[in-house]
Symmetry: C2
Subunit: 386 residues, 2 copies
Amino acid sequence: MSSTGITAPAGFTAAATTAGIKPSGNPDMALVVNTGPEYHAAAVFTRNRVVASPVKVSREAVADGRIRAVLFNAGNANACNGAQGDRDAAAAVEQVAQLLDVAPADVGVCSTGLIGEPMPMDKVHAGVETLAGDLGDHGEDAAVAIMTTDLVKKETVVNAEGWTLGGMGKGVGMMSPSLATMLVCLTTDASATPEMLDEALRAASKVTFDTLDIDGSTSTNDTVFLLASGASGVTPTQAELNAAVLQASEDIARQMQADAEGVTKRVTVTVEGTSTDEQAVNAARTLARDNLFKCAMFGSDPNWGRVLAAVGMADADMDPDHISVYFNRHAVCENTTGTPDAREVDLSGADIDVLVNLGVDGPGRATVRTTDLSHDYVHINSAYSS
Amino acid sequence: MSSTGITAPAGFTAAATTAGIKPSGNPDMALVVNTGPEYHAAAVFTRNRVVASPVKVSREAVADGRIRAVLFNAGNANACNGAQGDRDAAAAVEQVAQLLDVAPADVGVCSTGLIGEPMPMDKVHAGVETLAGDLGDHGEDAAVAIMTTDLVKKETVVNAEGWTLGGMGKGVGMMSPSLATMLVCLTTDASATPEMLDEALRAASKVTFDTLDIDGSTSTNDTVFLLASGASGVTPTQAELNAAVLQASEDIARQMQADAEGVTKRVTVTVEGTSTDEQAVNAARTLARDNLFKCAMFGSDPNWGRVLAAVGMADADMDPDHISVYFNRHAVCENTTGTPDAREVDLSGADIDVLVNLGVDGPGRATVRTTDLSHDYVHINSAYSS
């Protein structure tokens, strides 16, 4: 049997169950356990200052670079539930720790779903009980259990020289109702220090999950874990580890972009011709978040004027008289002036590539992935909790 | 006959005509002339770094605080037309100056319409010829001629002690196709120095036009002129002038918000409980631009979790555990936790009032006006230039 996702690397077991948290009756809880011999970990969390209770617990747990297990649930975000939410997250972690005979401080927890609904702790406790008794090669089941409005499960495996990196993710790039938390768990049997893991995860997130920008919204629960068991006995170089984590993160981010609800177009925005990569990200993000631009993409409309108007507001060095815009590698604007056949470029396909050169002689360059703004986006997001 | 809008104050004449720039065949050019005895002026322009040719010309013209006339056209923004656009804007101004026997440097110009289309200068020159020969008490006609996708003309008059302030505006708060430039012209027969005018206009814009934030987009052409003829012979105090300019600006901004295309809700977002007014504006703007929040408003859905997730990303001091949210003065979230009857608040009306307290003991407070994100917004903005 070939293992997939988080249980592909040696030293990891997983379980999934239906605890009844999702009204749909679909699987909604999962547990991932690092069976060692090492228990190193790193994590990145939402930059939102309003954070869910599970994020507070996980942030504290991973601070020492050591994690034995991570509990997941979908259907309830346990966010904005006050002190009761904190107590509930801690109680679930306590129960996992007791059943696995590990320290509570070595257990993380991730939740996704509605904000502001109390956790149904009777269901959670029964679910944890079941999960702890059913651990095995169930990476795929775990990937299914963490889905909310995702249409497909998201898994990845990277096979390196003598070691493996696996992963699962859920999230539809913030497009989905109720803030569409992005949760990702990466696992590896490589031997790596927490510092190596942290460096690899931050570098990869910066150019994958951090630049997947569907509508500028950022959830209270976003979490990416990277766990390392050392079970392969192989210690990769930092560069090798970075490459594998980047590949896995790119794969999962692409699956999220493709699964964004209400999407008819996948839009890749690249900005160059500015002073720094950070400025390029600013400009690409400003464009990727501009509703007029996103509506034009939905309409397959090569309305380059909206691109100029959007990037003109960005915090990036530019020469306002020498901006160029390319749609699908076709020049539609040069020196801030439309090309004669600008309106004839074909944007009817599902993938649109936008390149903007801000006209400054600098090395700054960045890519942000986004989507169009469609009727379905509005429909889905206006008819959820009511 | 009672004069309206920009010709209500003494010392101003106006004209409007149909030059054929709009494909619809509706009136599309206007001229406003200050007949003195004073010719003082101030203006504020778009913060976009990609600016249309008319903005470049007007910015230079008003730099010395003196403006004799402003030419308006709708149907073509004369933006992103390169050096030809600059020459065209200058040529129109030259013609106005010659016909009125004033210096070109004392003439402003404002354009609104499609970006990246060359100006039809034959039509523009014929239009200017007609306008110069038809000056009179035609403020209302001018207000009609500058409309693009506006459904109604927008005028205002403020009667002060012995002096008057009038105004016209066009714009639908950036909601409309093709960047929906906001153009405003305010006129007064008060005697006021350019410095007084500048202070009054900047103070008023900051809390009216600058906080009318429909979708975060900012046009290449946005311009607000304030012209003073001194014809009343009355010199108001700075405070009196400020008050009148604020009242007129508020009136026009409200008309723009109400006319925003695709809008079903007018949403007023107020943020308090933070350190400074600037931080409060940041937070209010972050919320006003959040698509998930705007979709919830469209659906009359009291989904306060989206408010917290949005303001949590704002550049403002806050206590993440002590944020309160009120919809229509009904508490839906206290101490970052939902109130028991939060989901029962009625948001079915056309006006929704949102108050967010960020939980910090500071004087910061600001209000931003926005709208919902509707099916029609997407429809209108995806089916324009194609």
